[in-house]
Symmetry: C2
Subunit: 435 residues, 2 copies
């Protein structure tokens, strides 16, 4: 029986997922990110060090455990950032910094099933981490990598919304609201509860006047795909050194993206991100036409990803929600694959006593990189063609003197030798496409 | 802190692991196996349906679970066969049979840490499953796939040891020992306790006479890389229809392998496999020179992998213990990789104000598939070359008029344009090799 929150794809969907993962991985590698895979479990104290998500952890115990204390308590990781931070601390003497890594793994969250959320899902993360300080230009690189990933896929255009915590915090402080965390949390509810309720909450819980609340909302309204957001923020009349720093950083992200990938990045000053370890740049990503499904790729800068004694490890990273992305696209039938198996050619078997000759043909084709199956039984050729057709396999090979190969889509059948016949490049692998 | 039994590789080792996984996957796909990934968890009843491994299961509970019964009990899968069988039953109406799938995933076993075994490890499985009956020729295909996988890797030669339960059971029955399961279990201890203790145990627990025990040991001694094992079994003077069937099947496996992959397969009549669902062919695999580490790839035929009502789903499959294989080879420093990052070129940064020009060079190289990083800081060129050297990155690019690119291994530096310079194919990706 299916278990709520634990999605499973049929093989054609898994083929699409692998195609997506291959594109993600090859793009990450083009940017020089090294692969990392961490264990699925962490000590529960490590997981609980991010208090906010403590309610969502799956703990492990052995079925025949003698007593509750016989094992250190282990839990499944709920993201890839906490294990990465732990890995960096544990192996900092063996790593070269700045350390660029990607990590593509399942994560688990013990959500209540009735919320209809995934409890097991796949994430693809990149992070750059350094000792002591990390130059800001790495913050400008993250959207470019993600832009390249999304452009390599047959899916709607991705728009990366960027903000900077320093802009918000500097603005609130400059405005005379010292509890910037509370203001940020409240403004973060804008899309859920609307501006009137946010304004009221700012007055009630953050000690804002009506004018201050209105200014916070004005800031959150600002959105621009170029550097014009800077003047619009300035026009609100608030000054603060942290605000200046934030505006300068955000401008760098927007301008770098405008040069390398026009249309990819928008400065969106209402973006806050729930998790509280971000300290500067924050990213969210929407697909055009799929905005209602929320962000499919998020991240940001953390001044202290990890620390060892007096050494701090700042980082910046971004995470593609692969299961979330595919769940949305599969739900809209927005991705298809040309066949349900990798097989390009089925070798027909004229009779069981000829099977070893058919195996030799298959071996010759495979040696030249052509995915090949031999028909499971020496049924009538009509049945064997049907075997291929039902799976979307384009070619059936008929052993004979000479051999022939048939494109079962067009019906065209030609003489061929397993030593040199090659299908058109487009037929070699299954093709993933939109709609 | 490392957790006993949960191995983690550093990035260079993970690059080797990915290289191995890519070879495994592409070989599986050349044979037409379709990809499948199942969820990490199963209901505990599903896991316990294979009684033998019940003690090794990790159960899950949510940290803030209200009561022990609020969730159906879930456990992490301990192999990929049980989830595959469940998936086939659940989706049998949506699958095309015979269904060939591969599955490469982590599995978990709650072993006691002091046993020094892996508690999390990676397996790569192929299985073919059909409705009602599955032709025997699929049993002859499994070793060929695995042989191709191992030949594509820079590792010692793999020898697949094959046996057939029908040979053993038919022989024991024909010999007059009706409790064939007990005989099999006892003979399976041969490598651990030696022939004398096995003979004694056969007399004690399986009701064998000394002569019968001796005959069982004689059978277990037979080993051959060709069909000669048939005559040697016949020479022991036992007859039984099941024995005939088993010998004929085993002969097919050995002869098919001898034709397609000489030296790959050995009929080894002492191989039994612990798990009790195998009903015919069984496989184990050793690496030459690494025999003492045991099998790195095992499997067999199961007449009833799954069933739905009156419909049986027989299958045959084999599983590569990827973590086990790599753990052994890493432990002997038997695999190396030419660099610790995917990066082929580092673009040097003459000064921070020239960074955007360096980014443009990197973009041009990446668009042509060349993994490229831009240096993290505009340090002295000596430092930037050191950055590349420490990671094994072969090329450093110097922006200028004209640009130049330096092979830092040879010191050779040539004029180059990012629009058309291409490294030698051998330098494009990290190279994995033996020793």
């Amino acid at each position: 029986m299916p278990i709520s929150g634990f999605p499973e794809w049929l093989p054609p969907q898994r083929m699409i997922e692998q195609f997506v993962l291959d594109k993600i991985r090859s793009t990450f590698e083009l940017y020089g990110f090294a692969p990392l895979e961490t264990r699925a479990v962490e000590p529960v104290e490590t997981l609980l060090s991010k208090g906010e998500t403590s309610k969502e952890i799956y703990l492990l115990r052995r079925l025949q455990e003698e007593s509750a204390t016989s094992d250190d308590q282990l839990g499944l990781h709920f993201d890839l950032t906490v294990p990465f931070a732990r890995f960096v601390v544990e192996n900092n003497g063996k790593l070269q910094f700045p350390f660029r890594r990607y990590q593509i793994q399942k994560v688990w969250r013990g959500e209540r099933p009735q919320e209809g959320r995934y409890r097991e899902f796949l994430q693809a993360d990149i992070d750059v981490v350094n000792r002591d300080t990390l130059p800001f230009h790495f913050d400008t690189e993250m959207p470019l990598v993600i832009g390249d990933v999304f452009r390599s896929l047959p899916i709607p255009q991705a728009i990366i919304q960027v903000n900077n915590r320093k802009v918000c915090e500097g603005f609130y402080r400059g405005l005379g609201l010292p509890d910037t965390a509370q203001v940020l949390r409240t403004v973060d509810k804008l899309d859920k509860i609307g501006p009137d309720k946010v304004a009221a909450a700012l007055v009630e819980t953050a000690g804002a006047t009506d004018a201050q609340a209105a200014a916070c909302l004005k800031l959150a309204e600002i959105s621009a795909s170029d550097g014009s957001f800077v003047d619009r923020v300035r026009a609100l009349g608030v000054t603060d050194p942290l605000l200046d720093e934030g505006l300068s950083e955000l401008l760098q992200v927007v301008e770098t993206a405008a040069e390398h990938a026009p249309g990819l990045v928008v400065a969106e000053l209402k973006i806050a991100r729930g998790l509280d370890y971000y300290t500067g740049t924050v990213y969210e990503t929407q697909l055009r036409g799929y905005e209602r499904f929320g962000s499919v790729c998020s991240g940001g800068r953390y001044e202290t990803l990890a620390s060892v004694g007096n050494t701090r490890f700042p980082g910046v990273g971004i995470s593609i929600g692969v299961s979330r992305l595919l769940g949305i696209l599969f739900g809209q039938n927005a991705l298809t694959v040309s066949r349900s198996v990798p097989t390009c050619v089925v070798v027909a078997v004229p009779s069981e006593d000829k099977r070893s000759g058919c195996d030799r043909i298959a071996t010759a084709l495979r040696r030249r990189g052509i995915p090949t199956e031999v028909a499971p039984t020496a049924a009538k050729f009509g049945k064997q063609i049907q075997f291929a057709d039902r799976r979307g396999i384009p070619y059936v090979w008929f052993p004979g003197s000479p051999d022939t190969v048939k494109d079962i889509r067009s019906g065209e059948q030609v003489e061929a030798s397993a030593a040199d016949w090659t299908p058109p490049a487009a037929d070699l692998q299954p093709v993933v496409s939109a709609g």
